[in-house]
């Protein structure tokens, strides 16, 4: 993991000192709310429906146990004993008091965490593959590059007032677990003539106008990473529309100007900027960062205990079948710890659970923890021999739900239960879908399925790329839910197709059931996933199931 040096510590301390003074000036009347708002947003502090909300960055989703314990302590001391992990690898505290936030930020700084640029029209927290450094399918660990980008973008003087927010995701694998095609810039590591570089994807994004990103450059050599990124953001900063908030994201800039024109402008700017960057120093600096991300020395041990537990314990076996992923070392596994117990709030963890995860990471996981954009916790390196013991502790803390990648592993934004922008609730819809299908015992029969729910058009719940997407809207003062089908956030990224008219709050779960029963009827065999069936048969049969049956029920 990246270790803060004196510069980093001093920078954070100074930034937090400034924010403390800004809060004081707001309280004594020297700053108006209009003056204070952009300052608090730059430090991750929102005012939501019922309270303030502090959004803390978990850079590229990596945490060490000490950091996780501080997140737990903050939840206990200044919040309500829990935190909410988000789709952008952040953690949100839903109930802080304005006067406590400077102390919270100081507590975070002590373990090298911050809330800088988790809001505002800036380059946001750089996200990455949550299996980084562990996956068997990886070219190289993307996190050193993400850390380099974090350092470059933090407090970048030219990019503090962009036309709109700007999100960067980096993946080191062909298998895209970072939704790179739905980011302002997606960086996908590729190898060419033996050298590692990046495919640069630009102009993806969800929200009001969802778009799949386009390839701006098919191979960017690593030494050119920063000047090229600077050229892209700089081009956008000049060209992006500031006249209309809804047309201000780079996806619209790319759409309106065309990828060829953007490429010309970026290339011209890149030619100007490149001499200002010391490519050799970038490579050296990357080497220093990379050394900190060196993986653990993996222990070898007999994994008899794992096989014995699989034979003896069907609960363990079910969990192992769903929540483990292939590690680059065959004797280890990547563990997804589900924060989606049936009926629980997706992405929420109590302080006790956070501490248990910190302890488990130390006992069995070489001290490494990841937060996924799918709102789960990952222990990236666990020896198979330790899995039964790990599972037992997870069970004791309500963390052993065997549902990773299944129906109840739902992404849901906070929705109108917390968010000031929301137009409908998300959380209770997720809770009810999970408990409904748990009661029907259909989840495992249905198999791999990604349901994603957003409580407004801004799409924090990534509904456009859900195999089943649900979008909550306010229709004439009543919550109404639109469904999209066939979305995909993977390397085959696709936007879902809208089925038709939306459904009332109490009709959305039955609607999802009709879709899934149609799938069970339509699939060629149990191995054909929902998404594969959808791609084969298209929208029509699902539409029939969804609306014909609704009319029959209403008649």
């Amino acid at each position: 993991m990246y270790r803060y040096d004196d510069f980093d510590h001093a920078f954070l301390a100074e930034r937090n000192r400034q924010f403390r003074a800004q809060v004081e000036r707001r309280l004594d009347g020297s700053l108006t709310e209009d003056e204070f708002r952009p300052l608090r947003l730059m430090n991750g502090l929102y005012l939501q429906l019922h309270a303030y909300m502090l959004r803390v960055a978990i850079p590229y989703g990596s945490l060490n146990p000490g950091q996780m314990r501080v997140l737990a302590d903050i939840a206990d001391r200044w919040d309500k004993g829990y935190g909410h992990f988000t789709t952008r690898q952040n953690i949100q505290y839903n109930w802080p008091r304005l006067t406590d936030v400077p102390d919270m930020l100081d507590a975070l700084a002590k373990v090298g965490l911050h809330a800088i640029q988790t809001s505002g029209n800036t380059i946001r927290n750089v996200t990455s593959d949550h299996f980084a450094g562990a996956a068997a399918d990886e070219i190289a660990d993307p996190r050193p590059y993400a850390e380099l980008i974090r350092q470059w973008s933090t407090d970048h003087p030219e990019f503090q007032f962009l036309p709109r927010k700007f999100k960067v995701a980096v993946t080191g694998s062909e298998i895209d677990r970072a939704v790179t095609r739905a980011h302002d810039i997606g960086l996908r590591m590729v190898r060419k003539h033996g050298a590692v570089g990046f495919e640069v994807i630009v102009g993806g994004g969800l929200g009001r106008t969802p778009m799949i990103g386009k390839v701006l450059r098919d191979f960017l050599p690593v030494p050119d990473l920063l000047p090229y990124l600077e050229a892209v953001v700089s081009t956008y900063n000049l060209l992006g529309r500031r006249d209309n908030k809804y047309k201000a994201r780079i996806k619209i800039t790319v759409h309106e100007n065309g990828i060829e024109r953007i490429r010309e402008l970026v290339d011209a700017r890149f030619a100007e900027l490149r001499p200002n960057f010391d490519a050799a120093e970038t490579v050296l600096h990357l080497a220093r960062i990379s050394a900190m991300f060196k993986g653990p020395d993996l222990q070898q041990a007999d994994d008899g205990a794992y096989h014995a537990a699989r034979q003896a314990d069907p609960v363990f076996r079910a969990w192992a079948d769903t929540n483990l992923h292939a590690h680059r070392d065959a004797s280890h596994a990547i563990v997804t710890v589900s924060l989606k117990a049936h009926g629980a709030t997706p992405g929420d963890a109590t302080s006790d659970q956070m501490r248990a995860l910190a302890d488990l990471a130390e006992a069995y996981g070489y001290g490494e923890i990841r937060i996924s954009h799918e709102q789960n916790v990952i222990l990236p390196h666990v020896h198979r021999a330790d899995l039964p013991a790990l599972h037992a502790v997870l069970r004791a803390h309500g963390l052993a739900t065997a549902n990773a990648g299944l129906l109840s592993d739902i992404i849901a934004c906070p929705g109108m239960d917390y968010c000031a922008l929301a137009t409908a609730r998300s959380i209770p819809v997720a809770q009810e879908i999970a408990t409904h299908f748990e009661a029907l015992k259909l989840e495992h029969e249905i198999g791999p399925l990604k349901i994603k729910i957003s409580g407004c058009i801004n799409a924090c719940g990534h509904h456009h790329v859900g195999h089943i997407g649900i979008l909550g809207l306010d229709r004439a003062g009543v919550e109404n839910y639109q469904i999209t089908l066939g979305g995909d956030g993977s390397e085959d990224a696709a936007l879902g197709d809208r089925t038709g008219p939306g459904f009332a709050y109490d009709q959305i779960v039955p609607a999802i059931e009709r879709i899934l029963r149609a799938y069970l009827d339509l699939r060629n065999d149990p191995a054909e996933t929902f998404l594969q069936t959808y791609k084969r048969v298209g929208l029509a049969p699902f539409k029939t199931a969804l609306y014909t049956q609704e009319q029959a029920d209403a008649a």
């Binding site: 309280l27 304005l98 609730r425 959380i427």
Partner: protein, 107 residues
Amino acid sequence: MPARPFSKVVTANALIDGDVVYLDAAGAWVGTLNAAQVFTDKDSANEALTRAQARSHEVVGCYLADVDVTEAGLAPTHFREEFRRRGPSNYAHGKQATAKGSPHVSL
């Protein structure tokens, strides 16, 4: 459908803890909708809003919210205001935790 009669309250979030507050008849900020002053004409409502907005050392984001005056008390007309009045639906936090004895409102 006849237009509903003009009836609004002044609401905002408290500056320090962010809690949803309403303006009462004595000009104090209170945490319960039922204690709020109802304005039944546009001019007095706008005047109260302007005065409230000047109290930026106490609150953030003042606006007028529609309410229905019912036998059971004041009722929000929009579900967003119902959530603000009650708190989130996934945990008994916020006003639900502080309003002892108040029945849980199921939507």
